[in-house]
Amino acid sequence: MFAVFRDLVRYNIEFAIGLILVTIVVVFSAASFFSPVDPSLIYMTIPDQPPSPQYWFGTNSRGQDMFWQLSAAFRNSLIFGLTVAVLSRIISIAVGLTSGYVGGWVDRVLMFINDIFVSVPIFPILVLFYFVLRNHMDSFTLALIMAAFGWPFDARLIRSVAVGLKHREFTRHAVFAGMSTRKVLLEEHLPYVMPIVFATFMNNMLWSIGLEVTLAVLGFTNINQPTIGTVLYWANSHSAMVVGTWWWIVIPVILIVMTFLGLFLLAVSMNEYIDPRSRLRRMGA
């Protein structure tokens, strides 16, 4: 595991950049655990102060210190992304492995359902959920709904690997030795799909955080909980750009770009690492 990591950092500049970006963002958001102020309170400092040694990222028109506000926002958004990614990974592993290994009509039915989930446009459905639930919509509910829609792409990917594993020698040995299907899947096949799971994990986080930003900017989530999207929502509703409090928009946008670029680079470089052909090309062997 450590050797893989070292190789990635050494031979893959994209992985190194991605790792640095994500580390910065994670450290920044972890700082919120030591935050001296409650980020949900307003009018705690002087409003509309530009960035200064006292307020590193300035303060917004709601009297919040942007440094701690953003720190808490990024923590909440990252936790949200992690929740969605973990939950949807569980579904995609279960569906992908079962479908690939069992095959036959189980495979066909699961993949039919899978294709339906891929094609349904999720945004109108999420808006509908908000419309119906209104203030009952907290970030965990949202995470559950998104996880229910975030698995099908990756389930198909995992299935394609599992189909290949099914005909390998060791699977037959395991079956002859009397292993149950569940055991074969969890103990024999799961380790083989783990790299894909990790790579898609990042992509899934990107997707879910991006959707959360979109919903929150439109005001379709709980706007009193600081997340990346709600920070932008409040900035918009106070017309930050017109009023001239540019740091309220510019600093979050820079941090968002860093987060997304970092996660994306990690996902891409891991994908490349999984493919032995492109790995060898890169390492010059």
Binding site: S119, V132, V257
Partner: protein
């Protein structure tokens, strides 16, 4: 030919399944929720106007009738479908008494125009440049281009649209940033109107293209760089086939098949993107309508927009699937 029909039949079945499940989901979401739509609408109505108790009771009865609530859930479901098939979603509360469906059909062309043009531009440019980049792997221009594409691609639609809005709205105001056409032109088939529509479409389309093309570029580059090393390409090169023929007919055509599948799979996401873009640029399409409807608590309009958009995306995916046999002869021959 029979293989083609079999293929179409399978895809059509899939499309119907998607529409069925999607619209059933909208029904379930709206009916399984703890909040009664009738009470919600009543709350909104009575907060604005001073209604007498008798009027409230009468309105409640009328709304119950309209939404079909109160009947057993299965009966409601059947009623829901019969109305759905007729395209009858009841009157919009936001623009009473215009039927919700009228508002949707009015907004539809804007979204469709934005979606189709943005998708086509994105797909063609991204794949063409990606193929060239994959074929000329050591070209410095394409390498820099690849880095830029990679940098923009993961950023959410909203942020890209917003950055464009800031650049063209505040820093360099040359393009209209809001609305579908200028206020001083009369809608119709006249040149001022058309040119105004085109001008207003530039920024929204550009923002969708900017976010979308990187994915196609990177995907196509990877696909082509694999195809280029295949034996049949080497053989064609050795046999002295013209370079443009190799790239056009051998490399791109083969690499296009998975890209077309990917197009069908991402259409739903592109639709979400246009919805958001419309909101940012105040474009008069389905997205703006949906958001206005949610904010106004317009129940039938929200249902109408989400059902129509689910259907529209499913049909669009079906159309993309129909193009498949043009590229991949195996589908026809099977």
């Amino acid at each position: 030919m029979q293989g083609y029909l079999w293929f179409i039949g399978k895809r059509a079945l899939q499309m119907l399944a998607v529409i069925f499940c999607g619209i059933s989901a909208t029904f379930l979401v709206t009916h399984m929720s703890p909040i009664d739509p009738v009470e919600q609408v009543l709350g909104r109505l009575s907060s604005r106007a001073n209604l007498s108790p008798e009027a409230i009771i009468a309105t409640r009865a009328a709304l119950n009738d309209l939404f079909g609530t109160g009947a057993p859930i299965l009966e409601q479901y059947v009623n829901f479908w019969t109305r759905m098939v007729q395209g009858d979603f009841g009157p919009s509360l936001m623009a009473f008494p215009t039927p919700a469906m009228n508002l949707v059909t009015r907004a539809m062309p804007w979204t469709l125009g934005l979606l189709v043009s943005a998708t086509l531009i994105t797909f063609v440019i991204g794949n063409l440049l990606g193929a060239l980049a994959g074929y000329n792997q050591n070209n410095r221009f394409f390498k820099i281009f690849g880095i830029i594409a990679m940098g923009i691609q993961p950023i959410p639609y909203y942020v890209v649209a917003f950055i464009l809005l800031i650049i063209f709205g505040f820093l360099w105001p040359v393009l209209p940033i809001s609305g579908g056409f200028a206020m001083d032109v009369t809608p119709g088939y006249n040149w001022p109107f058309i040119s105004s529509v085109l001008q207003h479409a530039i920024l929204p389309t550009f923002s969708v293209v900017l976010v979308g093309f990187g994915g196609w570029f990177i995907g196509m580059r990877a696909l082509v760089s694999n195809v280029v090393n295949d034996d049949y390409v080497t053989y064609a090169e050795l046999a002295g086939v013209q370079k443009s023929t190799i790239v056009g007919s051998y490399v791109i055509r083969n690499a296009m098949v998975p890209q077309l599948t990917a197009l069908a799979l991402t259409l739903g996401g592109v639709f979400s993107g246009t919805v958001i873009t419309e909101q940012v640029f105040n474009y008069p399409g389905l997205g703006s309508l949906l958001i206005d409807a949610v904010n106004a608590g317009d129940y039938s309009l929200v249902l109408a927009v989400s059902s129509v958009s689910i259907t529209a995306v499913a049909v669009a995916i079906f159309i993309v699937d129909l193009l498949h046999p043009l590229l991949d002869p195996r589908v026809r021959a099977e």
